[in-house]
Amino acid sequence: MSASAAVTANPQTMTSPLLSVKRLRIERRTAEGLQTLVSGVELTVQPGETIGIVGESGSGKSITTRAITGLLPPGLTATGEIRYAGRSLLGLRERDWRTVRGTELGLILQDPFTMLNPIMRCERILGESLRNGGTSWFARREEAIRRLAEVGIHDASVIDRYPFQLSGGMRQRVAIAAALARDPSLLIADEPSTALDVTTQREILALLRRIQVARGMSLILITHDLRVAFAMCDRIYVMYAGSLVEVAPADKLDAEPLHPYSNALLLSEPPVDRRVAELVAIPGSVPSPGEVANKCVFVPRCQWAQSACHQGSPLLREVMPGRLSACIRVDEIRGQMTALRRQSAEAVFRPADTTPRNQILQAHGIQKVFGGQRHPVVALDNVFLEVREGESVGLVGESGSGKTTLSRVLVGLEHATAGNVTVGGVNVADWRKLNRKDLATIRRTVQVVFQDPYSTLNPMRSIGWTLAEAITTHKPDTRQVDREVEGLLEAVGLPTSYAQRRPAALSGGMRQRVAIARALAARPRVLICDEPVSALDVSVQAQILNLLNRLRAEREIAYLFITHDLSIVRQVTERIYVMHRGRVVESGTTDDVLNHPQDPYTVRLLASAPTAERDWLDGTR
């Protein structure tokens, strides 16, 4: 790592870059004409260097790498200049691309579950990617097994398995091995760990870094997570709405961002080591590049925007040696940005009073077994959980830990095999036996906000209709439904005019606000939030977390917050339960558990939460 860091420190004296991209512009042909997706992207990668491209969804980071590899979807065209080792890549014919892809440039995609051909065994996937296709079957198999060992799979039998027989982490390892089969000098990893569990994510990132160092390969890491980029990369390119807004060495960017967007992105990342008074959220949502053409792309959401920022799109310029920023006011506002960061770091969270209150939700000795008697799968094993009035409780675990099954048992979407659930004083051991009145009580007590705001709202109905339906379901005699709808929209921070809109006209964050408003319509005493922000962009995530914290203070609602993300749990809960393989392995106050974890699993989970430190990835295989 130190070698590449030394090179980076001195960008002027560098030898010719391995990859250089200049004035890259990507456009989509539509019926209305050309639509710009990416413009003015300039980047360089030195041999052996790791660069990060950081941005939220719609920033154009993935499309940029597709253009570099010549894999733009139909209808998209790239112009500008892309040179790899002196060779121009733009305009290569498909047959010429074959001499570049795989052998010079490797690419791994985000989702290991869809990236591998489902009907090929790993041996064929690796074998067909190896360059020496002419050698014997046995030699190729041996080579494939060696390649698997390089990506940390030491079980040779994996080679005879199909992708669907492997876990997500294993599939991503196989994919990395396949992408590296022809020994490319530059690997592009597009969110390689985003679809994986936290602990697996850290392993995959550590693996990538290890391979990159061992092979002396260059790496472009695409990520939405600044902390991951800080831990992995030498230099970072921050993209927003199709444009680069800042380029800087990782450590410098971490110490002092020189663009309001980078600054805000850094601030909206919830820290895992402490609870902040309030997350600094960026108002609004990510615009499309077309909406911010001919002005600074961050202008609609920037607190320092002036009329000058609207005059033409600013170019990246060198503000300090090795540091580029597209903010024209950066010299004036540097001090203010630093002050904002210090203020946020120093603001102390004051905990609410913790006098014990009545219990409203309790699960006792919950057992849930799926499958028949021959292959029983124990999803929940003797789980105890309680939520008291007005408190916020976290339920933490990775996929397969049983946290979602537990929440489904709590609201009656699944029936527990054994054990007791009490909701608002009603015993609900068997939901099928409850009478109408008890059911109504339960629905008024517990409501759920689901993970994916895109699929939980009826696309054919307006927001107002959806909310009105929720209101009249729980209180059929409501007189002024419209006023109630407006009240709900205001409570979740949406303009009342949004009642007329359909879900399709709303961004992900707005939809999640609507989903929260709908849950609030029943005036619940407990809100179960199942990964409510994990489908959202970081800058929007902070808005929703702040909203949930505010609603709790205003309405005295209790939360059961289900998530895999420890930094989120830290920001919104007072007590947590840590689940692993169907059991609660640890519980207690959030501060106690996260500061002094007792169970080895909690320790591992905590170590896996990304931090900006370089040594975050050390100590894993």
């Binding site: 894999l71 074959r98 995609l109 990506v151 027989q165």
Partner: protein, 336 residues
């Protein structure tokens, strides 16, 4: 930890042991179900004799004179004096030995009649099936690969026409153009010897294949479009694999999985469902026989043909399902 997220790796059996045993077990299970179904169907077919208007003796007599001798002979032959279920049992037992009685039209054993026509129907059906799958899948894949181009639009409109044209219309059209105007192909008959038969059955096979081709094409195109958008195609291209390999072992292999099941259903309909085609082209096949027998109320033949239809539908379905297992490891090995 590393690679060893142990529990996530489920199957650790040797490569060749996977699948074989489970496929055999699956086929055995299916065969049992098939046998049960066959009993139910044969019972329904047997009941045809009683469901048809008039009494069974008159039905079985047909045009023959009704005399005490013929009546008693038929009663003995069909066991009409025995209890109903025993009658069925005896009928089914004989049917199992391919004895379906005699046709009232020709006084020949039904089995002989069927045997004379089945090869023609099989030939025609398989011929049409070959045409339908090859053109259907070929054009469907072409259309998907060239999505949105003129080729694609032309193929998609042809599908609509193909699906909505009845066989007797396309058949007459083909006859008029290729047999009567151009004299390229014969208008009727089935020919002798393989190549002569191929020659004679070309027009009927094309007419028969048109709707199935359109049907297969439509599904093949949709399946292919779905597969071409998958990440694994992008990932294969990103690794520099050859376009042919990507088209065949990536796109086509995956797209064919849903199409295979559908082709099984198409095959059975082509072999025994060629009634209109055989009538239009005067081909002496099973469909032709069925129409003749229906007109003559030849109940013994109708029973036999009905059973044949049922068996062929079941068999091709089983075949399709087994193929599905073979081509899709996810089904074969049970997705976790």
């Amino acid at each position: 930890m590393g690679a060893g997220d142990g529990s996530a790796v489920v199957w650790a059996r040797p490569r060749w042991a996977i699948g074989g045993a489970s496929i055999r077990a699956y086929v055995a299970r299916r065969l049992v179900v098939l046998a049960v179904l066959l009993v139910a169907v044969s019972f329904a077919v047997f009941c045809l004799l009683y469901l048809a208007p008039g009494n069974p003796i008159d039905m079985l007599l047909g045009q023959r004179p009704r005399t005490p001798a013929t009546v008693s002979a038929l009663t003995r032959q069909y066991n009409l004096d025995k209890p109903f279920f025993e009658q069925y049992w005896l009928w089914a037992w004989r049917a199992l030995h391919l004895d379906f009685g005699t046709s009232i039209q020709t006084s020949l054993p039904v089995a002989t009649e069927i045997k004379a026509r089945l090869p023609t129907s099989l030939f025609l059906g398989c011929y049409a099936f070959g045409l339908a799958t090859m053109t259907g899948i070929g054009l469907g894949v072409q259309a998907a690969v060239r999505r949105g181009t003129l080729v694609d639009r032309f193929v998609v409109s042809a599908v609509v026409i193909g699906l909505s044209t009845p066989v007797f219309v396309s058949g007459v059209g083909l006859l008029y153009v290729f047999a009567i105007q151009l004299h390229w192909l014969p208008a009727f008959g089935k020919g002798n010897g393989f190549f002569d038969e191929l020659w004679h059955l070309t027009l009927p096979a094309i007419a028969l294949a048109v709707p199935s081709t359109a049907y297969i094409l439509k599904h093949a195109r949709a399946a292919m479009l779905g597969v071409l958008e998958q990440d694994y195609i992008v990932f294969a291209r990103a690794r520099g694999l050859s376009p042919w390999r990507i088209l065949f072992s990536y796109a086509l292999r995956n797209a064919l999985i849903p199409v295979v099941t559908m082709c099984g259903l198409v095959l059975s309909s082509l072999i025994v469902g060629a009634v209109l085609t055989e009538m239009t082209f005067s081909v002496q096949g099973i469909g032709h026989l069925l129409v003749q027998s229906a007109l003559a109320k030849d109940i013994a033949v109708i029973q036999c043909v009905s059973l044949l239809v049922a068996v062929s539908v079941m068999a091709t379905n089983l075949l399709a399902d087994v193929l599905y297992l073979l081509v899709d490891p996810r089904i074969r090995l049970g997705r976790r």
